[in-house]
Subunit: 173 residues, 2 copies
Amino acid sequence: MARATDYVLAQGLAGLSLRPLAAALGTSPRMLLYDFGSKQELVAAVLAEARRRGAARLAEGLPREAGSPEEHLRGIWAWFSSPERAPYVRLIFEVHADGLAHPENYPDQAEAVTGWFDTLGGLLRGVTTGPGDTVTPTLAMAVVRGLLFDLTTTGDRRRTDLALERFCELLRT
Amino acid sequence: MARATDYVLAQGLAGLSLRPLAAALGTSPRMLLYDFGSKQELVAAVLAEARRRGAARLAEGLPREAGSPEEHLRGIWAWFSSPERAPYVRLIFEVHADGLAHPENYPDQAEAVTGWFDTLGGLLRGVTTGPGDTVTPTLAMAVVRGLLFDLTTTGDRRRTDLALERFCELLRT
DNA sequence: CGATTGTTGAAACAGTCGTACCATATACTC
DNA sequence: GAGTATATGGTACGACTGTTTCAACAATCG
């Protein structure tokens, strides 16, 4: 299953098919269904694993000690926009797009978006309006996601980096 | 072709198939290929038409007279986040996600992202650093796209509206 | 040893996909 | 009116999809 997650991260969710996946894993579609029950359950399991990995890597990838909100934001952006995170970012956008058409397949999708607020709220202490402020984290994640949309489309790293810097600058005041 | 665009906007790009499309249009897959050459060319034509429509509707939907940058930004957000624009927004995200896997199919995708800078730069005059400033429009569109990502996933209009308001507030200073 | 259970392989099923082929019908030109 | 281009319907092809069925193998247990 770990290797199935590798495969999906590498090849994408959109055109995922059991036979190529099985071939890449050295097994058969028969066994995939035997193990996971159905393709949908396999996808759900893979997504859960990918999310677990993402959270773990993020936790270990961010600067641990206290810092200014801007530094934290820069760290988050650097993490997400890193080329080695590209497969993960692609998966996020693929799931989102598919979820627009079939929301019922991704029941915990909303939580995957709002789940950042607790941790982000802490990191942004100082620019939030209070401990229960969800609006500032919403804006910060929107900037990151929007810039990721831009970066993954245009590949223009300089401009997107500068845009995040501009946001930090606005935040500082 | 106009009705094909209607259909794609209503049903989404992801699972688009010639036979259902032809049935909905009262014609046959045979004729779709006869008219468009191939499915890819059909999709390209439909996307071009959708973009044309989007640009036209946006031009007529925004307040025409001069206003503060925040008012313009609010107008853009109101336009994009309007429920009647949901099909168009979904199409944007679907194309983006598919473009991550098959960039070669969407040669003018980057221009669709950066094309906003000329018009947006004008509307944001006052908060830009100069006439050739692409960073501020980049950030503004990132906020809009990121909030659209959030809104289309969580459906939380209040929080996303407030987040845009917060961005305007930051921009004002 | 026999029997049952869990695991695997190969093939087939029913369906969909984009597309190509062949025929026909209509319309227009000479 | 004959001939030719344009448009359309029907059908079949080959490839692919997720899933099921049947058969065989291995191992465990009484």
